[in-house]
């Protein structure tokens, strides 16, 4: 289906169509999952298929050929891709969601990025390794290195969060590929195919038109909301952002579960010659993992419905609910980890071979679960402090609840 045909459709129908396209790509992604890992970057051929199927346009503004889908579309699409290749799912769902990161920036820089080519993967690099920015007349002068730039090999533009003259709150900047270089630091245990390398800026000038203080960017009504229609460019961004990795994480756990069941149903113990599926403990573990995945799915479905309603209808999300959303994301990630861990440890030595899909999914899930947005301590402690009447450490939340920082 071409983009023109989908233009006037219900966003939920387009979402369903993109999920179907992701499903159709499944066999190709599965067949190349090992090669993607070895390449430590999404394969060019798969990236082409992602663009051709318009899988990273879900949050791209309509004025630049995108779909402006409902929040949560990245969960559904990422989940489907991750059943076969979590690394490619990360590129689609997490990096693809950067369409609305850019969609909240000033209109002029959006025109620069999407004007020439609407097939864009917009990388970000937000963890500062060293260096920073200095303010100059008409822009910023920047030198330094920033980490965790997933998909940068395939990006023409990248967004950085840089600290200007030592300011506490960073500034978002948009930089073309000609101005940055890649430092290949991505030698890791899982999600190898995401190519989450470092980006280096070496004395680069960024004009003010490509910059926006992060405070304005995440607050309600950032500059991009003047040129783009959807609520995703307009809402206070914090309760929304941070959800994108849960689609790949959940889909990977679901994929691991499906593969485990398919393999175990057929499996005879290598050394014992007994049918693994006949063991009551194996059956119990399958049930427990399935229930955990179901719990995760129910929680995410509820969260997505809530955020869609709040976004569309301009409802304020109260502090307690924001904390609850963060808590639930960490909890869902933990459910996914536990569900898979229980299964992969029980495949015997076949569970350690790199070609075993359950094994790869397990490593990928462990890797995704290290992401700060689903970090257990950070999200659980804040909610626990809230529930116990203490300041949470989140300035906005504490102000809203009238709790002074301790």
């Amino acid at each position: 289906m071409a983009v023109q045909e989908m233009d006037n459709q219900d966003p939920l129908k387009i979402e369903a169509e993109l999920v179907a396209r992701a499903r159709a790509l499944g066999p190709q992604l599965r067949a190349t999952a090992a090669a993607t890992e070895a390449n430590r970057s999404v394969l060019k051929s798969n990236m082409r298929a992602v663009f051709d199927n318009q899988l990273v346009r879900f949050f791209q503004p309509k004025r630049h050929g995108g779909f402006e889908l409902e929040w949560g579309a990245q969960f559904a699409i990422g989940r489907e891709v991750a059943k076969n290749c979590p690394s490619t799912a990360w590129i689609v769902a997490v990096v693809g969601a950067h369409g609305c990161f850019l969609g909240r920036m000033p209109g002029a820089v959006q025109d620069e990025v999407w004007g020439a080519n609407q097939d864009q993967l917009i990388a970000t690099a937000s963890v500062n390794r060293h260096g920073g920015a200095k303010r100059e007349k008409d822009g910023l002068r920047i030198a330094g290195q920033w980490g965790f730039s997933s998909g940068c090999d395939h990006a023409e533009w990248a967004m950085f969060g840089v600290h200007v003259d030592g300011e506490a709150v960073p500034t978002q900047i948009v930089v073309p590929r000609s101005d940055w270089t890649i430092a290949d630091t991505w030698h890791v245990a899982g999600m190898r195919g995401t190519g989450t390398k470092d980006l280096v800026l070496d004395d680069v000038f960024v004009p003010v038109s490509r910059t926006l203080p992060a405070g304005e960017w995440i607050a309600a009504n950032p500059p991009g909301s003047k040129v783009n229609e959807s609520y995703i460019y307009r809402v206070p961004f914090l309760p929304f952002v941070g959800m994108s990795l849960l689609g790949p994480l959940f889909g990977a756990a679901e994929g691991a579960y499906n593969d485990y069941c398919a393999i175990t149903a057929e499996r005879m113990g290598t050394m014992t010659g007994e049918a693994a599926a006949e063991n009551a403990p194996v059956q119990l573990r399958v049930s427990e993992s399935a229930a955990e995945l179901h719990a995760a799915e129910v929680i995410m479905t509820g969260q997505i419905a809530y955020l869609r309603d709040a976004g569309k209808n301009g409802k304020t999300i109260p502090a307690k609910k924001r904390m609850e959303i963060n808590r639930d994301r960490a909890f869902v990630a933990n459910l996914c980890v536990r569900s898979t861990e229980r299964l992969v440890g029980m495949m015997g030595a076949m569970g350690i071979f790199e070609g075993n899909p359950v094994q790869r999914h397990h490593r990928d899930i462990m890797a995704m679960a290290t992401q700060i947005g689903v970090n257990w301590d950070r999200n659980m402690l804040s909610y626990g402090r809230l529930a116990l009447g203490l300041p949470t450490g989140d300035a906005q939340v504490d102000q809203e609840l009238g709790r002074a920082a301790s």
């Binding site: 890791v188 050394m271 094994q359 490593r363």
Partner: protein, 411 residues
């Protein structure tokens, strides 16, 4: 590292062999990346293993070995695993193959240790396919076997082979044979693409219509049973005469415990000075970090006490010449699986709280974690297989012996 002179072998004391193991650690740490990339031990490490006598711990004195007690073997591997689990695996699991050979007929031992007393003796213990067919004076062997750790450095390899179905009943042949072959008899198939203990090089071996003389083939069960043929020429040590299953099945506890201890030490060192990557602040100051460290520490300690208890039982019963009863065996199997579970839980908790830095291949805690979880898939510590029989016995449903190499249903 200075080589030990083996020309007039005197066995080292336990303290001496552990000191030699400690001495290897700096070089092993330097080579861990190389070892993982090679997916076998670096040649320099194999030289170190021979020079320090690590492969001689369970080798008979008659062939230049040390004939040390079981605990020496486990302990040396535990220490080595602080730096490199794959090397520890070769010392412990593959090193124990020396005791298996020592239980076989004299001619087998002369063939292997006669020309060269520095040997890594591989075994490929899981049969993919293959069998032995009786001919005059021997067997013709065909097949592919898996998990031949250290096979790249081995001159000899053992495989378990069933006698071909049509031969059964016709010959007075046992169900499963242990076949000893020189490296000219088999080819190595490189299938070892795995997530952990990559350098153990546990590849497949393949052989096609190979003739093996009768004396290099023996009943698998008899090799592990009381008073096997080799006990007559190696009469001094219990490891060559007592039932061997309980020992061999314990051979990966040393490497697993060592990997967990290594992970703990590295985690502690890194976390003591670590600042949060995104938000700054000393990670060590967080109560939940302190608490999880304490929990992992308690698990590792519990595992170590159980491991020491296991070594003590194995030594005492061996020295006294009293076999373990079926119930005692099922208790030992239960405890080994439990030790593995404790260690994996302890290290998983540590690696999971390192954030994204815990992901990088060269993070030592990540390395120990991958190695430990890979070792934990070994059948001797498999949870279901090793704990269920004990529960069954406790509930009055009878005790059963579980053993390896139960023949597959013939196809």
């Amino acid at each position: 590292m200075a080589a030990v002179d083996h020309s007039d072998v005197t066995s080292p004391t336990l303290a001496e062999i552990l000191q030699r193991a400690e001495g290897m650690l700096p070089a092993l740490r330097e080579r861990v990346d190389e070892a993982d990339q090679l997916r076998r031990l670096p040649d320099a490490t194999v030289r170190d293993l021979f020079d320090t006598g690590m492969m001689r711990i369970l080798q008979p004195k008659r062939y230049g070995g040390y004939e040390m007690d079981w605990a020496a073997h486990s302990e040396a591997a535990r220490v080595i695993a602080h730096a490199c689990s794959s090397t520890a695996w070769i010392v412990s699991v593959v090193g124990a193959h020396a005791a298996i050979l020592a239980r076989m007929p004299k001619q087998c031992q002369d063939d292997v240790w006669g020309p060269n007393q520095d040997q890594i003796i591989a075994t490929a213990s899981a049969r993919k396919e293959g069998a032995a067919r009786k001919v005059d004076d021997g067997y013709i062997v065909n097949g592919t076997w898996r998990f031949a750790s250290g096979v790249d450095h081995a001159d000899w390899c053992m495989v378990p082979a069933p006698v071909e179905a049509k031969e059964r009943g016709l010959q007075d042949a046992p169900g499963f044979l242990r076949v000893l072959m020189p490296k000219s008899d088999y080819t190595i198939q490189d299938t070892w693409f795995v997530s952990g203990v990559k350098a153990s090089g546990s590849k497949d071996v393949y052989c096609d219509e190979v003739f093996v003389p009768d004396y290099r083939v023996m009943d698998s069960r008899a090799t592990f049973a009381l008073n096997p043929p080799g006990a007559a020429i190696n009469p001094e040590h219990y490891l060559y005469s007592q039932e061997f299953g309980p020992y061999f099945g314990s051979s990966l506890l040393g490497p697993m415990l060592g990997a967990a201890e290594g992970a703990y030490a590295d985690y502690r060192e890194i976390t003591a000075v670590r600042e949060g990557a995104l938000f700054g602040g000393k990670v060590a100051g967080l109560a939940q970090v302190q608490q999880r460290l304490a929990e992992s520490s308690a698990e590792i300690k519990a595992a170590r006490l159980m491991y020491e208890h296991n070594n003590k039982i194995l030594h005492e019963r061996g020295a006294a010449g009293i076999s373990l009863s079926t119930v005692e065996l099922s208790e030992m199997n239960r405890d080994r699986a439990f030790v593995a579970k404790l260690l994996i839980a302890a290290v998983t908790r540590l690696v999971r709280q390192m954030g994204a830095m815990g992901l990088y291949d060269d993070n030592p805690v990540q390395r120990h974690y991958r190695d430990l979880t890979a070792m934990g898939t070994q059948i001797a510590v498999n949870w279901d297989r090793n704990v269920t029989p004990f529960g069954k016995h406790e509930l009055g449903l009878g005790a059963e012996v579980i053993g390896l190499h139960k023949p597959k249903k013939s196809t």
